[in-house]
Symmetry: C2
Subunit: 662 residues, 2 copies
């Protein structure tokens, strides 16, 4: 492994964002989503299905009585899904991100109060899962496959590390270290321990993050064990099922591993090469695997990560960065299978893809990782949240036809209006936590090099060339391709390489250093300048950002003969609100020479750059003739107006399409 390629991303604590695009989004998360979610976790949202989340912790902590308020479902005391705890963890992580860039005493007090309740529920041996504390501890660690115990554990470790990074407070961190010790006592390679691993991955990357703080080898070892053990034969998930049912391992258990594709446990991670199964689980596993590959220098794991990465990005990723094509199992399907109208593309899966991208970028500076991170962030992730921050998409289709969503059960998962909150509330807090921690996706620092992966207006502080350096980035991205980067070096100057990603969508760019053309070396899509950086040094990057018609690989059957539109990192779409019904009748008219109008409209959808040009629309005929002898297709001229995909479904409900006929 070439460890000189490694770098570590700066914490959100050290990258302060002030960006024309992202700051309003982060403010939306801070001022609307986080407070709303806190109300939801406490069952204070009128008319909404109760969450039960914080109440479960109070019951587990014996601060509340189980029998109150919840009607029929209260009989067993625990309310909601087995993974209800994770909502609190995601909320704390989101709050941590928000606190890191916007100190807020009231919010911090609220989080501290939540942590107090949560820690009160922790058992003397460190165990902390309200489902089993309330339902009976004898059941714990008996169904790792289905019951999300290690998933909630992982989310809490994430929350604890984030809150520690943001505030320096150790209470939750210490609690989670104790919980980690508890898990470690029950699961591991030693005899007498369970040889198990999470049914829903996340603990792997969470423990890697914890190790980054504690440097306790035990934490790294546990994460590595989860990855090493996964998919080994005999299958742990089969064994634990036998134990629960009182059978023996040979009793009708799945020996082929086919049933474990959903959990990516069909074979050892080192042998995997195609993304399979539940997409969120998958990308979380791959993210954790990349962490462990880097922390342990394990080449076989790195190779597995690269194969899985390639499989996703070259075969199974929507143009929006959505992944997981099928509603069935919320899962990956097969190479080049990218249906637009039945796409699942769970918001959380795109978030997980961003996690994976960040970790791959940490392993080696290649532009494809930042490109994909950017693709997911600007499209498939933020499409999950409405412009007012009050409603959310779980599923992110690339084509929506309201009638079809209502009348065809195979498309019922596709919504054309964002929902207030979901009974399974995984996506909204996940969107909140990634946006709130956006600062930790911008720059990374390696042995002799500082890398910029995302162009987000911000001020970053780090050590390079032995000096404290501050890097200020100003940009009108994603609407304009102009980026100004200025350096301040404590003590005058510092020698290091600085590299920035040349976006994959950009065919032509210029770089100026202090006003003069700069000579860069380029490698793997990064441009590098090595010099003694001085305070006042200023880099000016100009990325050409024309409207680009995109085509999909001919292996993608759903997009044969079609085009999509991008400008910079943004995928565009057509909406009924601008273009009328039956978007499928539209044609771009490519490759005729278009006069393309690109216009920033500050009053449209919170301020977006729209794209318009004269396309064509298939003329209608007698609606009573379903079939007829084909004539040369008759089109009428039709002005097509495109908006950024992320902003769709913020006006009257209607059709949407990303891909139309050329």
């Amino acid at each position: 492994m070439n460890t000189t390629e490694h770098s570590e991303f700066l914490s959100f604590k050290n990258v302060h964002i002030h960006d024309t695009f992202w700051t309003p989004l982060m403010e939306r998360v801070r001022t609307k989503v986080i407070p709303y979610q806190w109300e939801a976790l406490n069952d204070h949202v009128p008319g909404a299905e109760p969450s039960g989340c914080m109440r479960n912790f109070k019951i587990a902590a014996q601060l509340a009585r189980p029998e109150l308020d919840y009607g029929e479902d209260s009989s067993a005391g625990h309310y909601g899904f087995v993974f209800q705890d994770s909502d609190a963890a995601k909320w704390i992580e989101a709050a941590a991100g928000a606190l890191a860039w916007h100190p807020d005493e009231a919010l911090e007090q609220t989080v501290d109060g939540a942590i107090d309740i949560i820690c009160n529920a922790q058992q003397s041996d460190g165990y902390l899962n309200t489902y089993y504390i309330i339902k009976g501890l004898e059941g714990r660690f008996t169904n790792l496959k289905d019951n999300h115990e290690l998933y909630c554990f992982g989310h809490f470790v994430e929350a604890a590390t984030a809150y520690y990074e943001a505030t320096g407070k150790r209470k939750l961190l210490d609690a989670m270290i104790r919980y980690t010790d508890c898990v470690d006592r029950h699961i591991g390679p030693e005899e007498g321990k369970l040889h198990g691993y999470p049914g829903h991955e996340i603990a792997e990357m969470a423990l890697a993050r914890l190790y980054g703080i504690t440097k306790d080898e035990k934490h790294l070892k546990l994460a590595k064990y989860f990855i090493d053990e996964r998919g080994k034969r005999p299958y742990f998930f089969a064994q634990e099922e036998c134990r629960r049912n009182g059978g023996t391992e040979s009793d009708g258990m799945d020996k082929s591993g086919d049933h474990y594709h959903y959990h990516q446990a069909h074979k050892p991670v080192r042998e995997q090469s195609a993304a399979v199964g539940h997409a969120v689980r998958a990308v979380y596993l791959y993210s954790g695997t990349a962490d462990i590959a880097r922390l342990t220098g394990d080449d076989a794991l790195l190779e597995a990560c690269r194969r899985l990465w390639d499989n996703i990005v070259k075969r199974q990723m929507y143009i929006t960065g959505a992944v997981g094509q099928s509603v069935h199992g919320e899962a990956f399907t097969f190479d080049y299978d990218l249906p637009n109208d039945t796409a699942y593309g769970e918001t959380c899966a795109s978030i997980g893809l961003a996690f994976f991208a960040r970790r791959m970028a940490s392993l080696a500076p290649r532009a494809v990782y930042g490109d994909t991170l950017e693709r997911a962030l600007f499209n498939g992730i933020i499409s999950g949240m409405s412009l007012d921050g009050m409603s959310f998409f779980y599923v992110n289709p690339l084509e929506a036809l309201p009638e079809s969503c209502g009348k065809d059960q195979s498309r019922r998962h596709v919504k054309f209006e964002r929902q207030k909150w979901f009974a399974c509330a995984c996506c909204p807090p996940n969107v909140a936590r990634i946006i709130a921690s956006l600062g930790s996706y911008v720059h990374s620092v390696g042995d002799d090099c500082v890398y910029t992966h995302l162009f987000v207006g911000s001020e970053a502080k780090f050590v390079a060339g032995g000096k404290n350096v501050s890097l200020k980035l100003e940009t009108g991205y994603p609407w304009r391709g102009h980026v100004d980067i200025s350096f301040t070096v404590d003590g005058g100057e510092a020698e290091f390489r600085y590299g920035f990603r040349i976006p994959g969508w950009c065919a032509s760019h210029t770089v100026a250093l202090n006003g003069d053309n700069a000579l860069c070396t380029e490698k793997d899509g990064f441009a590098y300048i090595k010099r003694e950086w001085r305070s006042g040094d200023r880099l000016t990057l100009v990325f050409d950002m024309p409207v680009t018609f995109i085509e999909a690989n001919p292996h993608v059957r759903e997009n044969a003969g079609k085009m999509a539109l991008m400008r910079g990192p943004l995928v565009y779409c057509l909406e009924e609100a601008d273009n009328g019904k039956e978007l499928f009748r539209l044609r771009a008219g490519f490759p005729a020479h278009h006069s393309i109008k690109v216009q920033y409209e500050k009053d449209l959808l919170g301020g977006v750059t729209s794209v318009s040009f004269m396309g064509r629309k298939l003329k209608g005929w007698n609606k009573d003739d379903l079939y007829r002898a084909a004539s040369e297709a008759a089109y009428e001229e039709k002005d097509l107006r495109w908006i950024p995909y992320y902003a769709w479904a913020n006006r009257d409900p209607g059709e949407m399409a990303v891909w139309i006929n050329k």
Copy 2:
């Protein structure tokens, strides 16, 4: 109602088919399907899931002991679905058709033996349903919605009338008259009777057919009652559920009728105007409704039939005559929603559409009915059976990609290989019964006119102009558009109008009478000649049959920019066996002037006319680039070879497509 437009189809008993296309198919049914199905009904097919059907009758007749042979499932004695009885009925009906055109003493004895067993199971009050006889008669008529009791009843009435028509034997007919009396004692408008109707329709048309033989008003009245009562409020299905559950009618029952779309019981039939719900149920209901409309002269029912017909044929019918777009509920969805790759298009639903078409044609001679009958017969129906008669499609997609069927659960219902027999064996015997009775779809006789709806080589006998007339039809249809019709009149001459359908696919035709151009009047797609027909009169019809590229209405989103190919009544398709993989990359190249090769190939797929021309194929690019800036599409020339759709999936398993880009 204009009853002068009415006509009655000749029975298969009076239309003897000898046709180059259909006779081999009928022979296949007679010599392979019918014997195989008899073995299946008797659980004699090695390796196949037992049917239990005939055994259920033996148990019900106390000719066999219930506890033998069936392992776990035998506990209650009855084996298989609640509608298992209907398989025997369909088989008898198929055998009746076969016996009508090919006397076969051994087969007739087998049927008689089956009828003996079946009649032995009949209860003293006429009741005959093995599920309830075996499970307990106290349960009968308590779940008309779900338990298919009146469905099995209807199928047996169909079988009884068919066998009587074919052989003149009354045993089963009399048994079914007694069963009808039994049903009539339990269900009807009178107080004390159930105000119910079938959960799965068919009894409506069966009783109409029975009435055609018995002329017993009671039989017509019961059929009419089923149709009149359907969809009235309060909903009978809700009421019977309450009775079963001991609740009252107001107990949480569906009051909106929304849940009854599946059963077409959401509102009264007279008020329905869109085809909804389970497609087979729907077209069976509409067929029965058309029968009752004709037999009772009920204009409101006729109008409902016409609205429903139009909705199907103008909005919801695949080019192959397949209906029922969605696997969910095997159901209709909504107007212009005709996805190709997730199409359900159950073979039985196309058969039901043929039933409906025949009845609509009986109400008024309009070519659209025969056109649709022909479309379904030559495409969506016979595609259900393999060329060797030994395997069957339940689902008839218009596009199949094997990988997708295997790896995407939302397409798992789509098969690319026909199956031996289904656990739910409804389609194979249904194909058998319609093919075996094809003679009853050819001609109809009205007050002063004889109509030919289908061009099938045959000899028909009927009375017209007061004389016995024989009409001999010879044709190379569907491969050639040449039809010779010769008349023989007992006693020299008979005056009547003769009308024949001008196929909707035919843009140009000629008619000669005894060698000279004939002057026809035309109305609603029929051409008419009125004269004194004499023995030796000969009509020669020549229908131009060019290869025709077809386009779908622009409202059909899945076919925007695409074309299909027809020649005569046949829809064509592309198969991987002829055209390689990734058929979606092919383009017809329309409207370039093609040199189209049309060739009858006697050794291909049992003898078919193939169509070939030079089209284009989207060139591939680097398989690792999922997206790129669009260039002018690069195509390579590619010879496209089309085969008739019905013959697909008879070679190596692979892809198939009906619609490709123009």
